[in-house]
Subunit: 111 residues, 2 copies
DNA sequence: TGGCCGTATGGCAAATTTACCAACAATCCT
DNA sequence: AGGATTGTTGGTAAATTTGCCATACGGCCA
């Protein structure tokens, strides 16, 4: 019985990790930041990150698969938007980590 | 001038991505969850995740380098603890993404 | 209909990540 | 000092991720 619970727990963390991985790339973070302003078409996002459009498309597919974004086709274009706005709360904490790290570096210099 | 700003922005996202990557692994998420209860020694974390201790040590080194955790040596043991508690806020949003995704799946079935 | 435009997908090479084993370092205990 | 315990580091093979090219697909317009 314990094995089953253990397994379940491991699966839970794996599922969480998948979502976090979908955030863990500079281009994808850039796109998410941009999408927080509202939906954008693929070509706009390509201009933003400056990669090949096939690369951008794959980043978006990955985020969609993770549940971070959803898409909507309109004519020849595909628009993407954020699915769960709370994602944006991440960034303030990330900044806090960076500041905390910076202060640590400072204190090492001061010694 | 624009080039410099662009560069800076890219660096910023890269720095953020590094921190998020440090979270993006099932074992590391498991450890962070555990560390939210208080500091733990490496051997406790190894028992938790069930990997070789060298593997666990490397996961911890990576999280330390990212600024997520800090360590403290006491006798033969090394204790790790969370550096920035707000990390725990991540999880509620991650759950929200998972629920949102689940509801989407449901609605597809219903059709 | 034929051709263009905006995206997606298959394929592949390069880069990165991960996990284990071995070897080493530091601390404790006898 | 010698041995046991706890962690870290180097090395390496396997797995995963990334990015581009070429190609395919679907909608629009002449």
């Amino acid at each position: 019985m314990y094995g089953a619970i253990e397994m379940k727990s491991r699966e839970k963390y794996k599922a969480r990790a998948k979502i976090i991985k979908a955030l863990a790339h500079p281009s994808r973070l850039m796109m998410i930041d941009s999408l927080s302003e509202g939906e954008k078409c693929v070509c706009e996002l390509r201009d933003l990150v400056g990669s090949d459009i096939s690369t951008v498309s794959k980043h978006l597919a990955l985020m969609k698969e993770a549940g971070l974004v959803e898409d909507r086709k309109a004519g020849q274009q595909v628009y993407y938007k954020l699915r769960v706005p709370c994602i944006m709360n991440f960034f303030s904490c990330i900044e806090a980590v960076m500041e905390s790290k910076a202060r640590e570096q400072m204190s090492l210099v001061d010694k």
